[in-house]
Amino acid sequence: MRLSAVVAACFTLACSGGFAGLGATRPAWEVDPPPALESPVVRPGALTRAELPNGLHVIILEDHRLPRIVLSLDVRRGAASVDPAEAGLASFTSELMKRGAGDRDALELAKATDEIGAVLSVGAGWDEMGAAVSGLARDTAVLFEILGDVVLRPTFAAAEANRARAQRLAALERARDNAATVEGWNVVRALYGGHRYGLPRNGTAETVARLGADRAREFHHSMFIPNAAVFSAAGDVDADEILARVKRMFGSDHWQAGEVPSPGPPAPQVAPESRRIVIVDRPDLAQARITLAHEGISRTNPDRIAAALMNGVLGGSGFSSRLMSVVRSDAGLTYTIGSGFSLRRSPGPFAVSTFTRVAEVRNVIDLVIGELERGRDEPPTEAELAEARTLSVGRFSMGLETSDAVMSSLVNLDLYRLPEDSLDTYRGRVRAVTTADTAKMAKQLLHPERAVIVLVGPASELLPQVEDLGPVEVVQP
């Protein structure tokens, strides 16, 4: 349906005859919204799925609007599979995959990519690793070749490993200047301690110093196996041609199935057991960073949509959220505040994060704890939930504007073994959530009384503000 029809309908209801300040009847914002125009997520016939004999999943999405393509290959394991003593191994391995593959060394690979205007990215999340290359459709053959080399034939040259390690160590040192980064490191440490989630995904200076070319090669070999992998192609592609290329490049002749690595031990069900406060001492800061956090839910939790809607009302929806309204709009105490779940295979953190001038830190903590308690005692009303639902449905549609975005959602579903039709059913599942569901989520999932509180700022001014809240640990950045 095109807009003209909607507007015409609106005019007949006298809901849109100019804006209120200039003598109209009822302005558009006072009228119930017209129903959202819901087109199918994937155009019929555009999507092709296949599975090769070696277990590789293939997803192809044709979209011929622009002459560009994105190819990617992702595996279903990531940083969570790594022992804490080797934290950073997954991202270190990803970096080395970009530093030489097939017949090309690091510089030749960079040149081959840059000279066709392509972008190569290789990375590791908690639960996945992968490589992606995007460029013009006319360069499909070269893009395939680059992806194949990077995924199947990375060189892992010792000299490159040494360079990459030195650079990582320097970057970790530099990251200590960044208050938000240091805050994040301390949040996960306080929550998860010795579990892999307790260390940064990219590792620490201590763990990165142990990494080298041989270990990265072994790790790559164990992780990149076709029976744990998804190949995807989106854009100006012909599905049959792509499938033929995938079979030649990533089929059983070149790539054998193997044993899928462990996803890593599950995260603690309760973290932390009781409230504690960590202050990272940065005497130079005029603005302190504040995070309250405790365990959240997993990516595959059956209640995740109700949990997301509950969080939307609390702090996940920008200006529409309670936290933004109370802490920014009413009190003027911050520029922004938000809350959210880090969805992983095993439950990652739930966190509320913001910042304020140093003298106001306690006020902000009290406001946040107050809103978390209110979240449980006064769960979302029907009106709040209705806004959260339309917001969620609208954002979903808007987030899938490009075929790249649709594809990354489809790949993510496959990586977590979630139903293939999840995108098609999403809007219906959002609308089915009731206030009883979100109330239940608030009671189950919000624990302000035992959340860890991490502050970054001048300890001498912060300590007196928070020492009555619980045991305080002061650390250096």
Binding site: P33, Q287, S320, E387, L391, S397
Partner: protein, 433 residues
């Protein structure tokens, strides 16, 4: 419809922006519309030609308005604007630059009439009260602490602009000086609003699945009754720089940051293509000169890049590098200047030139991906060139850039005696607060 000219064997593509329709209402409001039925997202953008360059006694006003425009109008309560749009799943936000303040709502098609009416309402009936100003001033001060005062990079950029521009209003930060934010009162805010938020100073840019006639009718009814007014502009031009300028900023950093900037032409200048190609040669990917020589080979920097930055009244060409902890900022400076000297002294190779052009071409195609990016482009094209500049024209201009052109613009602009150098380094012991 023009075709995007590309390398032999390439499939040319249509530039969808060529279908843009430009309508100027009787009150001077410019409306750019581009129908695109293939996308679920409509981007509605309101470009107000009021940036920090338009401030006079009090800096930061343009940006303060970016905030105040969400704080309520006669018929819409404070913060409701954003909430209403978000409740329909829309993305709503705003940003301020040295030249413009831009408000945007990216929504699904059925919400376009709503956002048109909401934006017209706040331009017509904004409430500027002491109460809302008081709380928003604090929010902006938090933003200033976040982005500038507590951040080495923020301090560095602020110092660089104040150093490079000694006269032009581009010298002060978009967010304003702290003293001015604290001092901005209702009277100066009203004065700024009435001077710049007038229809003849606004461009609406709309891209997505809608019917242009229907939308124009709605805009005439809502925005059409706003009264035009003459818009004041600061007359100051930047005098020619005579001699290098240097500044040191002390900040508690493990990794110092090096900046250098040269004056370059304003947006729309004939040399802009050559400067864009030079940008790619210095910074386009891991095989680019700055990454390769400073980060990869010399291992002195953690990042290094440079770019041509076009503004409406002037431009800058700058380079920046993050020094590896423990390495020397002097060495990084030497390496950056060696790369700039090379641009001036040696012709770039054919392969490097072709690589840079190809990267720009792919970037242009990627710029067509979303309604938001398209709406942004047609607004900038209109304000810079007075028309929508076809992609094939821009690409042809890029393709025409020669190695000699790169050398020529580098020799014309990137001169030793016109450098503006800022170094953000840790304070020496005696300078520590």
């Amino acid at each position: 419809m023009a075709l995007l000219v590309a390398a032999p064997g390439a499939r040319a593509i249509d530039d969808p922006a060529l279908a843009t329709r430009t309508e100027i209402l009787d009150n001077g409001l410019t409306v750019l519309t581009l129908e695109d039925p293939s996308t679920p997202v409509v981007s509605f953008q309101m470009w107000v030609k009021a940036g920090s360059r338009d401030e006079s006694r009090v800096t930061g006003l343009a940006h303060l308005f970016e905030h105040m425009m969400f704080k309520g109008s006669k018929n819409v309560e404070s913060e409701r604007h954003a909430q209403i749009v978000q409740a329909r799943g829309g993305r709503v936000n705003a940003f301020t630059t040295r030249d413009h303040t831009v408000y945007y709502e990216d929504v699904t098609a059925e919400s376009l009439p709503l956002v048109i009416e909401l934006d017209a309402e706040r331009v017509a009936n904004l409430i500027i009260s002491e109460e809302t100003l008081t709380s928003e001033r604090e929010v902006v001060l938090e933003e200033r602490r976040l982005r500038t005062e507590d951040r080495a990079g923020g301090r560095g950029i602020e110092a660089l602009l104040a150093l490079a521009f000694q006269a032009h209003p581009y010298r002060w930060p978009v967010i304003g000086w702290r003293s001015d934010i604290e001092a901005a009162d209702v009277a100066v805010c009203r004065e700024f609003f009435h001077a710049y938020y007038v229809p003849n100073n606004i461009v609406l840019s709309i891209v997505g699945d809608f019917d242009t006639e229907t939308v124009l009718a709605l805009i005439r009814r809502s925005f059409g009754r706003l009264e035009p007014a003459e818009v004041p502009r600061n007359p100051t031009q930047e005098p020619e720089q005579r001699g290098e300028r240097r500044q040191t900023v002390y900040f508690d950093v493990r990794s110092p940051i090096f900046y250098v900037a040269w004056h370059a032409p304003a947006a729309g200048h004939a040399d802009s293509q050559a400067l864009d190609v030079a940008t790619q040669i210095l910074s386009g990917g891991r095989s680019s000169r700055l990454y390769r020589h400073l980060v990869y080979e010399a291992e002195q920097a953690l990042f290094a890049h440079g770019a041509y930055w076009e503004l409406q009244d002037a431009g800058l060409f700058y380079a920046v590098a993050g020094v590896r902890p423990g390495e020397s900022i002097e060495e990084v400076e030497k390496l950056i200047f060696a790369e700039i000297d090379r641009l001036r002294e040696e012709e770039v190779s054919k392969a490097e030139l072709e690589k840079a052009k190809r990267q720009i071409e792919v970037g242009m195609i990627n710029g067509l991906l979303t309604s938001h990016a398209l709406a942004n482009r047609i607004a900038i094209d209109h304000m810079t060139f007075g028309r929508i500049r076809p992609l094939d024209e821009r690409l042809a201009a890029i393709q025409a850039v020669t190695a000699e052109d790169i050398k020529r613009v580098a020799s014309a602009y990137l001169l030793e005696g016109r450098r503006n150098v800022v170094r953000v380094i840790a304070p020496p012991e005696e300078a520590a607060p």
